[in-house]
């Protein structure tokens, strides 16, 4: 198989920090990645030279690796091309830079108005447009035009106990029209409140404790506890704790987990993946039973099946691999407040930070950035930041309650040196025991 992935991307960013608009930044990148797969070997070359000569040189470099025997010329009829029309979007180029600065200033003011203890505010606004064209020797031809917009606020609050930070972000696979629906002031206030509340935080407990995760607190639990472990590249190398587990009960029956690149506007949404395959709504775990893994073209071919639309790459300079899109737990039927009320003691996590997993062992960590003690069924004192550690299959079996207050959050997923935008979603849920890495 031979494939050409051409990409033309532009991006812009604006940053307000320490009350100043520090600088605006604009970036552009254009190039093609050429992949030749022969048996189990992949040859890959990329170039920013899109002339016929440049492309042929890259193709020769990629083919030289993969081809053990002599080369042969085969003419392939491409098409019909799949081009996705996203309808009306407020494209980044059409937005006046002064309007972006207005968003930054409004957020800065709103954050600082939360209290004198808010000692520093950094506001960032960024957008990108990524146009891709993928053609391969199977005759596939696909084009996509992805527009993404993000806005984030980081606050520092200063008090008697030192400094604390609060972070909140909005990120959508849409244009600037998102600011008609989401208020930048709200994002800023959330970030500031998060930093302020931690000024009176006590050290987090240590040891195994029941945890209630708030709806939309990050959903990164599933991303780390099983998402990465369900990526077929780990499976085919027997480097995942979930290898050979299809049809087995791997989680509480309350868990139905879906990876879904089709959710319009979410951060991990696209019309075609980076191998030209349309995304799907893929059920990974249904009522606790593992139903399938996530697949890209290469790993699907090895197993004689089709891609699930999870072949993604950071840019034309990277090889595609199996990646998540928007990964979420279907909502349950319980009431979030009642789940807390029925928890005699534990920790309530309002917001999660990042995480990391070892897919071979299933051990994973994820950080809290806003958490409280639960005492006698009530949310009480705030806690300082800490990491939680657990083993994927064990933790998923310990989920004993799922509420109906589903929400999604955006994130950036790193794997093998490549970053891609992803979404995570979940309703309020309880885990009967996870190890919390506090100091108390």
């Amino acid at each position: 198989m031979a494939e050409v992935f051409a990409e033309d991307s532009t991006s812009a960013g604006a940053m307000l920090d320490d009350r100043r608009v520090e600088e605006l930044s604009s970036g552009r990148s254009r190039g093609a990645g050429i992949r030749v797969v022969d048996g189990k070997t992949t040859g890959f070359a990329h170039t920013s030279d899109l002339s016929e000569a440049g492309l042929l040189a890259a193709a020769a470099a990629a083919a030289a690796v993969a081809q053990q025997g002599g080369g042969k010329v085969r003419t392939v009829a491409l098409g019909p091309g799949s081009i996705h029309d996203r309808g009306d979007r407020m494209l980044p180029d059409s937005v006046d830079k002064a309007r972006k600065l207005d968003l930054l200033r409004r957020a800065d003011e709103a954050a600082r108005a939360m209290g004198d203890a808010v000692s520093q505010v950094q506001v960032g606004c960024g957008d990108s447009r990524r146009r891709v064209l993928i053609a391969n020797s199977d005759g596939l031809l696909a084009e996509d035009d992805q527009v993404r917009t993000r806005f984030n606020v980081i606050c520092v609050a200063n008090g008697d106990t030192g400094m604390q930070t609060g972070h909140e972000s909005l990120a959508r696979t849409e244009g600037y029209e998102i600011f008609e629906r989401y208020g930048v002031e709200d994002i800023a206030r959330t970030a500031a409140a998060r930093a302020l509340v931690k000024l009176s935080a006590r050290p987090a407990p240590s040891g195994e404790v029941p945890i209630v995760l708030a709806g939309g607190s990050g959903g990164i639990l599933f991303h780390e506890a099983c998402g990465h472990g369900l990526e077929a590249d780990h499976i085919v190398k027997d480097a995942s704790v979930y290898t050979g587990q299809v049809g087995q009960l791997v989680a509480s029956p309350l868990v139905t987990l879906v990876d879904d690149g089709t959710v319009l506007g979410e951060w991990g949404n696209f019309a075609f993946d980076d191998e030209g395959c349309a995304p799907g709504r893929n059920v990974l775990i249904e009522n606790g039973v593992l139903t399938d893994y996530m697949w890209d073209w290469l790993r699907a071919r090895q197993e004689g099946r089709t891609s699930s639309g999870n072949g993604r790459r950071q840019s034309y300079q990277h090889l595609p691999m199996v990646r998540m899109t928007n990964t979420y737990l279907l909502a349950g039927s319980e009431n979030a407040d009642e789940i807390v009320a029925q928890t005699p003691s534990g920790v309530y996590v309002k917001k999660l930070g990042g995480g990391q997993v070892n897919t071979a062992t299933g051990d994973f960590v994820f950080g809290t950035t806003e958490a409280y003690l639960i005492e006698d069924g009530h949310i009480t004192e705030p806690l300082r930041d800490a990491n939680l550690i657990g083993n994927g299959p064990e933790v998923l079996r310990r989920i004993d309650a799922v509420a109906d207050d589903f929400d999604m959050t955006p994130g950036t997923c790193g794997k093998d040196g490549q970053s891609v935008p992803v979404g995570c979603g979940q309703a309020t849920l309880r885990i009967t025991g996870v190890t919390l890495g506090g100091t108390a």
Binding site: E22, E23, L436
Partner: protein
């Protein structure tokens, strides 16, 4: 350099301009089951342009050196400058009279080594790792990679600097299994050329780290002395380095702010940022603004002496640049940061340190550094795996625990600093380090 200066020459009257141009090539080989799984070869180049108009700065970059693209990038940077908040501290770096050291970071062998030899390095590494121990049941990746990068920087303020470097790297991920138990370990080796690499060491490290964790259990929660492996120390020092950035300090985002001259660490702690030491993987003769890199003593005998500054953060702090501007390639703008941190070694080797500690936890790797260590508040909480230390020796393996404290307390609670300094990839070297009174969280 000609390209960088030719763009700078286009600066208009009263316009400041800095042009950063980079060109590079890279090779990456991944081996699997005795064959090439993937081989990447590529050239890349890019340009980053900063324009200063009055006291307003704008930035633009492009992943191409095509003249039409550079024109568009320059126009973007000029337009962006109109929107920044005017600030008298925003100026381009000017030559400060300090000459850069001459560092030889370029090795022709990266280009001259035949591809077949590079491929063999990855394939042989995989084969050797699989054969080393019957408990190694999988090698999920065995990689060879190298790169050559050339950088030129020119500005209207009189900066002209060029640098070039090569690098080569092998790494291997081993998965060990025994019964239902699975553990993993990574080994690597870095150098300026393929000939510098020690794949044997990478293999031995990956096998040892994966197999010695077999049978690991959670440990009981409690306070104990923790001995960190050199690789972990390098990672932790990188976070401490973030708090020593003058940029973080002037913006009130460092727990070190306002503490110059105070005791911030145990008296045995001397922390130096020295990019002029050729042994450092990240060694560099010039910083991200083209000023000479220099040896900066940040903490000596436990006392906080200085922060590192780029030109703008230095002006905001009423001081001068310490030659410490760092930038993330052509797409990044300069900011203040450390480049080659070294904690001054002590006199004891790892075994002696274990003997001194007696009982505690030896941590061979940590997870969740980004989610669990905060350079603003100093809160520290990471996932850890390693071995218990009993009677001065390594004992049973431990997994799925966390160790926690604050960076402030950890710096004061240093018990022993190892003599086994290792030059590692990244921005800090590392050695064995023992820290008292950390909270171990497990069962």
């Amino acid at each position: 350099m000609e390209l960088a200066t030719s763009v700078v020459d286009r600066a208009r009257e009263g316009e400041g301009m800095e042009v950063y141009v980079t060109r590079g090539t890279e090779t990456e080989v991944r081996a699997y089951e005795g064959a090439i799984e993937s081989l990447t070869s590529a050239d890349s180049s890019g340009v980053g342009i900063r324009v200063v108009l009055g006291n307003q700065v704008g930035f633009a970059y492009a992943g191409s050196l095509d003249p039409a693209v550079i024109d568009a990038t320059l126009a973007d940077a000029r337009d962006n400058a109109r929107y920044a908040t005017p600030d008298a501290d925003v100026v381009l770096a000017a030559p400060d009279g300090i000459a850069g050291v001459d560092l030889d970071l370029w090795d022709e062998r990266v280009a001259s080594t035949p591809m077949d030899e590079k491929i063999a390095l990855a394939i042989d590494l995989e084969r050797a790792t699989r054969a080393a121990d019957p408990r190694v049941r999988q090698v999920s990746s065995a990689d060879y990679s190298d790169g050559r990068v050339e950088v030129a920087l020119a500005s209207t303020a009189g900066i002209r600097s060029t640098a070039r470097r090569t690098s080569a790297f092998v790494s291997v991920d081993a998965i060990a299994g025994e019964g239902a138990d699975t553990q993993t370990g990574t080994g690597f080796s870095v150098g300026r050329a393929p000939g510098d690499l020690n794949p044997e060491e990478a293999m031995v490290d990956a096998v040892l780290r994966s197999t010695r964790l077999l049978g690991a259990q959670k440990a009981r929660s409690g306070r104990c002395t923790v001995v960190f492996d050199p690789r972990v120390v390098s990672t932790v020092l990188s976070v401490v380095a973030a708090a020593l950035s003058g940029e973080a300090v002037v913006k009130g985002r460092s727990f070190f702010a306002g503490r110059i001259g105070e005791s911030v660490a145990h008296g045995a702690v001397t922390l130096v940022d020295d990019p002029t030491d050729v042994r450092a993987y990240s060694a560099s003769s010039h910083d991200g603004e083209g000023l000479a890199c220099r040896r900066n003593v940040l903490i000596s005998d436990g006392m906080l002496r200085m922060f590192v500054f780029d030109t703008v953060s230095a002006r905001r702090a009423k001081t001068t640049s310490t030659g410490s501007a760092v930038r993330g390639g052509y797409a990044g703008t300069p900011t203040a940061g450390c480049r080659a941190i070294v904690l001054a070694p002590g006199s004891k080797g790892p075994e002696e340190i274990l003997a001194t500690v007696g009982d505690g936890l030896y941590v061979q790797s940590v997870t969740g550094i980004h989610s669990g260590v905060n350079p603003v508040s100093g809160d520290f909480s990471v996932g850890a795996e390693g071995l218990m230390i009993r009677g001065g020796h390594l004992a049973e393996p431990v997994r799925e625990v966390t160790v926690a404290s604050t960076l402030q307390r950890m710096l004061q609670a240093v018990v022993e600093i190892g003599s086994d300094l290792q030059w590692l990839p990244g921005l800090a070297a590392g050695q064995t380090l023992a820290i008292a009174d950390m909270q171990l969280s497990g069962d």
